[in-house]
Amino acid sequence: MSLTTLLLLIGAGIGLVWSFIKDRGKTIESIRVAKSRFVGTAVEIVGVLALVGLFFAFVPPNSIKELLGGANVFLSGLYGSLIGTVTIIPAFVAFPLSASLVEKGAHLVAVAAFITTLTMVGFATAPIEMDHFGKRFTLVRNGLSFAFALVIAMGMMIFL
């Protein structure tokens, strides 16, 4: 369990205890709200995660490496951001993976694009996002994030 996860759990625990001391009724209310939201979302999240897991079992990591080290830096950056978009992996796995990609010859620009879309753009999580915020918001936010990931990656090319 990572440190941030632990902090989150502690935060929720302290919040609950504080709430319970101040007002029992409100606390029970908040747990009811939490429960109904959790039930509504959990099934969908499990479905998404299962599909992503299957996708990664199907596509070997080696083919990802080949795409990111091409002669055309811009194209590698584009591939990087596309791969980051469809991928869900924890960021602390993504950094060692990125480092090994760079060793194997991937461009830093492609890696920056990959990391940025990996974290900000969610193709696989889009159905969950739509559930919470609607279609238009989801499309606009993800579209803009994708475009900015490319801009950030190109910026890296200038500064590095």
């Binding site: 989150l8 709430s19 009724g25 099934v43 995660l49 897991g53 299957l54 079992a57 999580t125 803009l144």
Partner: protein, 235 residues
């Protein structure tokens, strides 16, 4: 009966699709099936560690934090301070981006601006203090610093542009679809004293009756006319 099965299938189409995909994998590529199952197991472990806490926090925000506080901190009038606060909230939170949806949705219902919602979502995903260390360890300090300095103004711009392109009330409606959503929204407006003056045992039960259309929105005595007006707006 058939209609019920239909809606059930529609609501769970993602998981049904996943089951079908795994079934096909099991028949044609058992190796992929087992590898996929193992990867998914790892994801699920992460999810189970994080999600209960996330939902508890979003529930607590709903019940305890007043609408006025959120509007002051993250409403459209909060300006740059609101943006920086949004970055802070996002960056101290843990978990993948889907864990951010319930919490940000609760903030949105309470009056946070769309731009700040987007900033929190993005910062939640990108700006993480422990991740900074990991990133600079593997890819170099310069790489990490450059990427962050480019990303921070980027996410604020993304927030600003999203707010311009998307109508907030549409997003709110999507956030409240379904009786459950409406009930949660109604609960958020009630004072939460559970005084019983409306004839129901708790604010939650009153909200439930309201959402089902069984009660009038002007029964809450502590809330008075102001709350009745807000309830009417939602209904």
């Amino acid at each position: 009966m058939i209609a019920k099965a239909k809606t059930l299938a529609k609501e769970n189409k993602l998981i049904l699709f996943a089951l079908l995909a795994y079934l096909l994998a099991l028949i044609f590529r058992p190796d992929v099936f087992f590898k996929g199952l193992k990867t998914t197991g790892g994801y699920l472990k992460e999810m189970i560690e994080i999600l209960p806490a996330v939902f508890v926090i979003s529930g607590l925000i709903d019940v305890w934090v007043s609408r006025e506080t959120i509007i002051r901190a993250f409403g459209s009038g909060a300006g740059l301070k609101g943006k920086l606060g949004a970055v802070l909230v996002g960056s101290i939170s843990a978990g993948p981006i889907y864990a951010a949806f319930p919490v940000t949705q609760a903030l949105l219902r309470k009056g946070a601006s769309l731009a700040n919602i987007v900033v929190i979502l993005s910062a939640w995903a990108v700006v993480k203090a422990p991740m900074l260390v990991v990133e600079s360890k593997f890819l170099g300090f310069r790489f990490m610093l450059t990427r962050y300095l480019l990303t921070l103004p980027g996410i604020m711009l993304i927030g600003y542009l999203t707010e311009k392109a998307v109508n907030r009330s549409h997003v709110l409606r999507a956030a409240q679809s379904g009786v459950d959503g409406i009930r949660d929204e109604l609960i958020a407006q009630l004072p939460g004293h559970n005084c019983g003056s409306c004839g129901y045992k708790s604010c939650g039960q009153y909200a439930e009756a309201l959402a089902e259309g069984e009660a009038e929105p002007d029964l809450c005595r502590p809330g008075g006319g102001e709350v009745a007006e807000r309830l009417r707006e939602i209904l």
